[in-house]
């Protein structure tokens, strides 16, 4: 039962960290040049990801993880 909790945690980590990588290192750096051909208001999109978007996404990712883990703690009766 406990093992299941840990596996589920690792599963969340893999997904969230993949998004973390794609939005910062991907959209903000490696693909920024390509994305700069598109615009978000006055922002070239790659530039926006590098200086604004990635940071918003970081914050959201943490709160999603908190939500998922609080639910998981409860389900496995591990809530303190």
């Amino acid at each position: 039962m406990k093992e299941k909790y840990w596996q589920k945690n690792l599963f969340y980590l893999r997904i969230l960290l993949t998004i973390w990588f794609i939005c910062s290192f991907g959209f903000g750096i490696l693909l920024a040049e390509e994305l700069n051909k598109f615009y978000l208001g006055g922002f070239p999109l790659g530039f926006w990801f590098a200086q604004q978007g990635s940071i918003y996404i970081f914050v959201i990712l943490i709160f999603i993880y908190v939500y998922l883990m609080n639910k998981l703690d409860k389900k496995h009766n591990l809530k303190e």
Binding site: G42, A50, D73
Partner: protein, 555 residues
């Protein structure tokens, strides 16, 4: 009432506030002194972490650096925020469950080795000390530029304040002061930003104004690109493909370094529960993001304002602030062609204006004609940023000495009272030492900060991650990984930093990676060496496997 009055007034009010908090929150036990009894509310801990994290460099220098690098400045924005995702997901909750006081504590127990603890504590002290000297310098600079107090006296006042609340209150005093300092610094940073955003675009939210149209109907960034090209610079939003790999590695080194910095990690020991540690990292990053998403907007607005004001202006007709900042040496005008007009262009031969990057934040209110009290606010904010970071770092140094070195390595029988005294004395010594170093900062302070992040990324980060996620990781693996990672990173940085006497030239960089980004490679080497060595040596003892098992579950 002039700027001078407001500066004295606001600095005086905020400093009294910090002292008041210190007296109210005196620490009575080592647990209070080291981790504030683990009783800090997660939202407050988030604020304290944010103040702890955002240093004089974030507050004063970062927007200026972005202003001059354009897209290239993104490495600091992403690098100094992205590490919190790693902290929240991969480190903070488990370290909180482990439930001790310091990072060397974790390394020492998880790897059942005094040597591991010793290496960790040396790294922790070195990283924190180099960092704290930079903060002291920031305090001295803020005082000397705005209050016409000599630099040395400024540093001494700074030491005095930190001495008072850190020695008295320990982590408890530091935490509550940092909460107040966060409020001061974020208010001080955003108020001028809102004003300039309104002036330039009519939108009060800088993050949106940044991507809006200016009064003449052109997008701000488009205008900035055009101005830059006209003066011979690269477009502000353009990406330089030649340095992209370096941007990648620097961003990574800053992120992994953030997640490995002891003064940040230790903040998550101060909350009551594992779930609090997770959400506290979320609050911390939210509070940090207010400044980090405003800074690039300030950078762009200030650059446009500056170019519009000075470029091709008659020197005899420049505004008063120009002359003021010339006196401080942050602006230098050299009329090369003697036409009395300021030529500000990319071409070094023709360019007549040298601008210190810090001016983009410091002089921003004056450039934008904001009221005098806003200038005072900037000074109080800069001091809050420097002092809060300094205090957090000093606490790490003192706990490393009194707890890890004295109690765990030298004299385990020391009494609770004796240890508390030792903690107070070592923080006092650390404050004074940092102050002395701040009075005579070795010229290489700024350079050494690269080393702090490099070391944190190449030593602590892999050792902690493997300690949590890999039960098979043993003492031999972690020790050899840390040693190889640290030695590689240190040698590379010294070799390629001319300011540190290194003979290396940029064209010989490994894969084109500059010293600021090499911590990423050091970290990868650490991971590889640890994994290989651990598989070839004795398995982890059973009791350690149980320890790892226990930190993975909140209850």
């Amino acid at each position: 009432m002039d700027a001078q009055f407001w500066t004295y007034f606001l600095v005086g009010v905020t400093f009294s506030l910090y002292i008041g908090i210190a007296i109210w929150s005196r620490a009575q036990s080592t647990k209070e002194f080291y981790v504030a009894s683990g009783g800090i509310h997660p939202v407050l801990n988030g604020m304290a972490t944010a103040a702890d994290w955002m240093s004089a460099a974030s507050f004063i220098s970062m927007a200026g650096i972005i202003s001059f690098l354009g897209y290239g400045g993104s490495q600091y924005l992403m690098g100094w925020t992205g590490g919190y995702v790693l902290l929240a997901l991969c480190l903070a909750p488990y370290l909180r469950k482990f439930g001790k006081f310091t990072v060397p504590d974790f390394i020492g127990e998880r790897y059942y080795s005094k040597n591991a603890r010793t290496i960790a504590l040396i790294c922790a002290i070195f990283v924190s000390f180099t960092y704290v000297v930079g903060q002291m310098k920031g305090v001295g600079v803020a005082f000397s530029r705005f209050l016409e107090i000599p630099y040395d006296l400024g540093v001494i006042i700074g030491i005095g304040i930190v001495f008072f609340y850190a020695v008295l209150g320990g982590m408890k005093g530091i935490t509550y002061t940092q909460v107040a300092q966060y409020c001061v610094l974020i208010f001080a940073f955003t108020v001028p930003a809102i004003f300039i955003s309104l002036q330039a675009t009519g939108n009060p939210i800088p993050q949106i104004g940044f991507g809006s149209k200016t009064m003449d109907g052109v997008y701000l960034l488009e205008k900035l690109n055009q101005l830059s090209v006209d003066l011979g610079f690269d477009k502000y939003t353009d990406i330089n493909q030649n340095t992209l790999i370096n941007v990648f590695f620097i961003t990574a080194a800053l992120m992994f370094g953030t997640a490995g910095l002891p003064h940040v990690i230790v903040r998550f020991f101060t909350v009551p529960k594992v779930r609090d540690a997770r959400i506290s990292a979320g609050w911390a990053l939210l509070f940090i993001s207010f400044l980090y998403t405003t800074a690039p907007a300030v950078a762009a607005f200030a650059k446009v304002n500056l170019i519009n004001t000075v470029s091709n202006a008659k020197y005899s007709e420049v505004p008063k602030w120009f002359k003021n900042w010339e006196n401080t040496g942050l602006l230098q005008f050299d009329d090369k062609n003697s036409d009395g007009i300021i030529q500000y262009v990319a071409d070094e031969q023709i360019n007549e204006l040298t601008i210190d990057r810090d001016i983009m934040v410091l002089a921003n209110p004056e450039i934008a004609n904001l009221p005098a009290w806003v200038i005072g606010l900037i000074v109080a904010g800069g001091l809050a940023a420097a002092l809060s970071t300094a205090a957090g770092l000093l606490l790490v140094i003192s706990t490393s000495i009194s707890h890890d070195l004295l109690k765990k390595n030298i004299n385990p029988n020391i009494s609770e009272k004796g240890e508390l005294w030792a903690a107070r004395i070592s923080i006092a010594v650390a404050v004074v030492a940092a102050g002395l170093a701040g009075l005579n900062p070795p010229g290489f302070v700024a350079e050494v900060v690269a080393l702090a992040f490099g070391l944190a990324a190449s030593s602590f980060f892999p050792a902690i991650i493997l300690g949590i996620f890999d039960k098979r990781m043993n003492k031999e693996g972690a020790l050899s990984g840390m040693l190889v990672g640290v030695v590689f990173t240190t040698i590379y940085i010294f070799y390629f930093k001319p300011q540190l006497g290194g003979p290396g030239l940029p064209q010989n960089y490994l894969f084109g990676i500059s010293p600021e980004g090499i911590g990423t490679i050091g970290m990868i080497i650490n991971f590889i060496v640890s994994l290989i060595v651990s598989r070839l040596t004795k398995p982890t003892p059973e009791n350690i496997k149980e320890l790892v098992e226990s930190i993975r579950y909140p209850k």
